[in-house]
């Protein structure tokens, strides 16, 4: 594919008492299509409660980075306006959480945001086929959302491949357990937007972002090694 490569560090893995500073720090390593991934969980759609629009609104004041909100909430329609007002650039909702995805897509776009649909691991890809032409991205969860410390589910790559084949111009995002060991599988399958939490925030941030980026450039875009974005950070001279 020829889609842009975007790395989306998940702020849940950052120091949440210093969101503004952490965002500024990580954004220093951002390339054009990178973004901050915001995991909004309401304790009902998933058994975890993270943060909502008020936190995002505060964050927006301190950063110019693209804000990509992944809503793991039981009534995403209710959040469109608050998220738009909070300054979200791209809003992804779960197909399992709404009875009328088409209407929701229209509302999100109506508020000037880009829109994506997310699929839980057990949700088959064909659920989203009717909407792909209208979406900016599809998010394929590679862990069960809401629980920490899970491993990357390689079986989700079949979904990524299927979507990539049917929709060559659709951005496909993956989220859950992405790191140096698992990125190649995701890149080969066709994902171009990569969410990573602890792999980015708790390691050498610049280096690890570039490791993810290079894998997608190589296996997704088919670039030669010499054309890849150079490794950054502490490992740059290895």
């Amino acid at each position: 594919h020829h889609l842009p490569v975007g790395i989306g560090p998940s702020v849940l893995a950052s120091d949440m008492s210093r969101l503004a500073e952490e965002s500024a720090e990580i954004a220093q390593h951002f390339k054009e299509h990178d973004y901050l991934h915001l995991d909004v969980m309401d304790g009902h759609f998933v058994p975890n409660l993270t943060f909502g629009a008020p936190v995002i609104k505060s964050l927006r004041k301190h950063t110019k980075a693209t804000l990509d909100a992944h809503l793991m909430v039981s009534d995403p329609a209710q959040w469109v306006d608050d998220m738009a007002d909070a300054g979200v650039d791209r809003l992804t909702f779960h197909i399992e959480a709404t009875e009328d995805p088409a209407a929701l897509i229209r509302r999100v776009k109506g508020r000037g945001m880009k829109v994506g649909i997310a699929l839980k691991p057990k949700t088959p890809a064909d659920c989203v086929f009717p909407y792909c032409e209208d979406l900016d991205l599809v998010l394929v969860m590679t862990v069960e959302p809401g629980f920490g410390g899970q491993s990357f589910m390689a079986d989700q790559m079949a979904k990524v491949r299927e979507l990539r084949k049917r929709y060559p111009r659709l951005s496909i995002e993956v989220d859950g357990g992405l790191n140096a060991e698992t990125i190649d599988a995701a890149a080969v399958a066709g994902a171009n937007l990569i969410v990573a939490g602890s792999y980015v925030f708790k390691g050498d941030r610049a280096l690890n972002m570039s490791v993810l980026r290079r894998s997608v450039e190589k296996h997704g875009l088919g670039l030669e090694d010499a054309q890849l974005t150079p490794l950054e950070g502490g490992g740059a001279d290895q």
Partner: protein, 275 residues
């Protein structure tokens, strides 16, 4: 987790919950019946609510508020099911503890159901956990659950919720929190009828002989805190009154100093004289 006696845990300020022994701690049924006007045995506590803070700089905001003279961090947790807003979860509480916050963290759960998240917050470092009786089908059980984690427990009363919910569990609550606005958003105005409710709660607490804090949340400002104290509150949540521009420790110190000055001028005996 270090096991300590329940009494030691309750006496410690600003330390994350440890798991107490299985039995609930015994209540001090001291002779708190006040002969005359001296029934405010506790210091007044000021608990700024981070709902109004800059959520992208929570560590700094809390540090400044505590350095400015506040006592306790008030943590408003909303899940968009019990109230129409979604704020923060246990992860953020943990981040504050990791950041180094040592003051007590007073977690107000506006969520339903309640039980599942109690453990998460205890582990994340909460000191007190309060919840709404309408949000739990088994209030007594939830109170015991909270106390079993070593945290102080409390019940929260929405403006229209009668105090009756506390009647049979006074031996299990450390805090009674009265909402003087409808929970969900900061910046609302104080509902005046809450003053009578405070007087009623104060009388109920004193009559019981139990050591229970009477907390108030919603529209508390320099202009009404004295009256609120006179009605019987001894712990004051202040959101937008404290966390506003300029967001500096100097400005926060000024605000909190003024709040304390108002409290110092409060005539506590007045409430007892009301018929």
């Amino acid at each position: 987790m270090v096991k300590s006696t329940a009494v030691a845990v309750l006496a410690t300020v600003g330390v994350a919950c440890a798991f107490a022994p299985a039995s609930a701690p015994s209540r001090p049924t001291s002779s708190l019946r006040m002969a005359n006007n001296a029934w405010h045995r506790k210091d007044f506590q000021i608990a700024p609510s981070i709902l109004s803070a800059d959520m992208a700089k929570l560590g700094e905001e809390v540090d400044n508020a505590m350095a400015a003279g506040a006592d306790v961090v008030h943590f408003d947790v909303m899940d968009n099911h019990y109230v129409p807003n979604l704020t923060i979860g246990p992860l953020v509480c943990k981040a504050l503890r990791n950041h180094g916050v040592k003051n007590d963290i007073d977690v107000h759960l506006m969520v339903s159901p309640v039980d599942r998240i109690v453990g998460d917050f205890a582990e994340a470092g909460a000191s007190y956990i309060t919840f709404h009786p309408e949000a739990s089908p088994h209030v007594d059980r939830t109170l015991q659950l909270i106390k079993s984690t070593g945290c102080k427990s409390g019940l929260v009363f929405n403006p229209a919720t009668p105090l009756d919910f506390a009647k049979y569990v006074l031996d299990k609550v450390d805090i009674i929190l009265l909402m003087s606005v409808n929970p969900g958003f900061g910046g609302q105005a104080f509902i005046p009828a809450t003053l009578d409710k405070l007087r009623e709660a104060r009388a109920m607490i004193d009559e019981s002989g139990f050591d229970i804090r009477l907390e108030i949340d919603g529209g508390v400002t320099q202009n009404n805190i004295k009256e609120i104290a006179e009605a019987g509150a001894d712990m004051f949540v202040a959101g937008s009154a404290v966390f506003k521009n300029p967001r500096t420790v100097e400005a926060y110190t000024d605000t909190i100093t003024k709040l304390r000055a108002e409290l110092a001028a409060a005539q506590i005996g007045k409430a007892l004289q009301k018929a």
